[in-house]
Symmetry: C2
Subunit: 464 residues, 2 copies
């Protein structure tokens, strides 16, 4: 099967050109203004699956954006891989911090990506990584190398909580029946340190609104006598962490799994340089929960971060105003065993309870999802590990990620199958940030590695 290398060599430019075309469409699911673009992207994905050799391709309507389904069933006795990915992207702001426009992809060399990286919103998360699977399928079908059945399910609301997918999956269990779910929507440690993500954090995302007076007030005439919603909001948010940076919401840690000393020792073996970490994002120091290392803080421990805050006068110059309202978007990353709905409820009750009488508070749950852990003793993990060994020449390291793909826990619940997370992006690829990019080397390495997974998984499955 080393025909994959020559196939990639012969089609490299086309693989890049097609991805660039896909990245040009601003499929921002969070902002209704981009609705048409999101739908155009769905069309693009549908056509690409047809061309890649799927026998049956469908635009599945949902209460929100459509889900693209495609399949190629070659033999009912062979195992079936379900590929999941998403065609929507994060908003691009702050736009002014992009060195090139977010939806005009350009390939530039960087220190970490000497062969060039594609700069565009969605290049890594997840259009680039999703499209690797489409191109890997194209290779397997066009060269007669597809060893098993394959199904694709590509959604358009991952960045806003996958609500329509959560609606779709339970209604289509038979159509989606599979032996393993394959996703590339995570990262690896470095191009020379391949890793497989074995854990994901859960998520609870809420929006809070604090209302003081019924109109903006003059800060001189009312200042000091009336609760200022912004001051109150800062006090309320600040109180959500104690002096050890532990979250103060009663019950928050009740179900958090405490890892054994051995497990923590094992985790700490992953290559990590605190100095490089600090340097890569230019911080004077790291900051987090007492008693845990940086890698533990963003993998096995839950968090509470304000993702956005606003209120009052934020224009040029000065305005001496006491705002009527102040707002924040707050997300909590959760670890396995924490139930996101329960945590959302705990947050809501606590946040409402700490508000002084002088203001009113509204907590609106946005979306959420459960955490997930992949067992490393199953054949999917073993097949993936072997695939990386083949193409990287190194055994990948199992690694828990701080990120969330809430839908993974739902897949297990509804479809009774495990998910394997083969991510080819890097943390430094700036997903969700300005100047998101995806290494050309990584893109092609993904296309190269995926068919090996198909083969090894089919083999191991047949041996069972």
């Amino acid at each position: 099967m080393n025909s994959i290398n020559s196939y990639i060599k012969n089609n490299k430019q086309r693989f890049l050109d097609e991805l660039v075309d896909l990245l040009k469409i601003p499929s921002i699911s969070a902002d209704k203004a981009y609705k048409k673009d999101v739908l155009n992207t769905a069309d693009f994905v549908l056509e690409s699956l047809k061309k890649a050799g799927c026998d049956q391709v469908e635009m599945c309507e949902t209460p929100g954006y459509p889900i693209i389904y495609g399949e190629k069933i070659i033999d009912k006795d062979l195992p079936t891989i379900l590929v999941y990915g998403h065609y929507d992207v994060q908003p691009a702001d702050p736009i002014e911090l992009w060195s090139s426009p977010p939806f005009e992809p350009v390939i530039k060399k960087t220190e970490i990506h000497p062969e060039g990286a594609i700069f565009a919103r969605g290049s890594c998360d997840d259009k680039g990584q999703m499209y690797m699977h489409v191109k890997a399928l194209e290779y397997m079908t066009s060269t007669g190398n597809l060893p098993c059945n394959v199904k694709f399910m590509i959604e358009g609301e991952e960045e806003v909580g996958s609500e329509s997918l959560a609606w779709f999956v339970p209604r289509n269990k038979e159509k989606l029946a599979n032996d393993v779910i394959l996703i590339s929507d995570t990262g690896m440690i470095a191009n020379d340190i391949p890793s497989i993500t074995t854990g994901l954090r859960g998520l609870s995302y809420v929006e809070v609104e604090v209302t003081g007076p019924n109109r903006d007030l003059h800060s001189g005439l009312y200042g000091g006598a009336v609760a200022n919603p912004i001051n109150i909001l800062t006090k309320m948010i600040a109180s959500l962490h104690d002096e050890n940076n532990r979250i103060t919401i009663p019950g928050f840690y009740d179900n958090v799994e405490d890892l054994s000393t051995e497990e923590r020792a094992e985790m700490s073996k992953a290559p990590f340089s605190l100095e490089n970490y600090k340097k890569s994002i230019a911080i004077g120091d790291v900051y987090g929960e007492e008693g845990y290392s940086t890698n533990e803080r963003n993998a096995i421990r839950p968090t509470l971060d304000v993702n956005g805050i606003w209120g009052g006068y934020i224009g040029e110059g000065a305005k001496t105003v006491i705002a009527s309202k102040a707002y924040a978007k707050i997300s909590m990353r959760l670890v396995p065993n924490q139930d996101w709905k329960e945590i959302t409820e705990l947050f809501k009750n606590h946040f409402e309870s700490i508000a002084p009488k002088a203001v009113s508070v509204k907590v609106t749950p946005h979306h959420g999802g459960q955490g997930y852990v992949t067992p490393i003793d199953n054949i999917a993990y073993q097949a993936a590990s072997k695939a990386y060994e083949t193409t990287f020449g190194k055994t990948p390291i199992p690694q828990r990620s701080g990120g969330s793909i809430p839908i993974v826990a739902l897949f297990e619940q509804e479809l009774k199958s495990k998910t394997i997370l083969m991510g080819f992006g890097l943390n430094s690829d700036a997903i969700h940030s300005p100047n998101e990019h995806f290494g050309v080397w990584n893109y092609l390495k993904g296309i190269e590695t995926i068919p090996y997974f198909y083969t090894y998984f089919t083999d191991l499955h047949q041996q069972q």
Copy 2:
């Protein structure tokens, strides 16, 4: 001199029409986009002073917006009144909360203003109150009733800190020489409870910026391990008040004047209904420094209010991001004896000192000014009191305001004269807020009252 009543009656509609024309120009000094409008407003004021009978009118250039100067000197042996006002206005946002466009003035009746109020940004603060003086002058010059000399100094940067005025005044002491400074840029208790403002708070306005990582980060991949600038900013701001709502900046209260029990008892006699106060702005409770009443909290006590805060994703939907930067605009209202430059320095040092090593902090002073107290035993206060008695039929109550006109302290320092604050607006007029308005009755009552002040002040001055 009751010819003033018939003069107002005969010219009422024109007085309103002229003010409406003035209010149509969006002279927002805080936003450079309105530069041309601010300059057009300066022209308007200049022309209006010519028409009102000033002998000499000048557009005085400054490093910023021009100051309009006008004078009518009738006899060097008579006293001179210097009228100060401003032609710039606050920004109008949040625009969507206005019931009519902020620069398309309309007259509507309200519960408090049964004769109608002019709704427009600047209607009360300060175009409407400033223009009362222009029309009062017109009456006095056109009917031969001007009893003394008068000078006008109308600036265009009051809402952004009066920097150019602070530059202009020391350079023009002779031109501005006067026996009293007269300002209508404050309010009174109610239309049937006239009051004269005898105290103003000082102001220190700063902007703070907290920087964490050098780019926005994915809150899953980095959350929990990296200081989130928004969380840190909320913690820093929250720490600026203690559990008794006292400001925690070391040295902040050092020079705050402690009023005697007698003085506080005297102050508490001013008519005030806590229930009506709460109802008027729809709050569940008041909120402020322990041990002080509502009227004390916003008159004799200093404050610290966040006037604006922003950071991270504030658009529609959700974005799981750790922002690189978070910002706030913070103002402190100061009481007499607190030096605004010293307080600004105390704030800066303290705020920088409480930042954890994981972030960097920048504090940028915006502008400020000293507080002020008018003695009630001088002839200017007595003349004003008599003028109100004549037109309102009631002795006005001396009242400390929570607002700031920082330039007043500078006037005393540079021009060695006292300021008398004859305000005709009401707290409920929503200055600095959406739906700012100014009662038609108040506008005309101001025009009626001002000439009496001229007469009584001249009389008392001659008797000295």
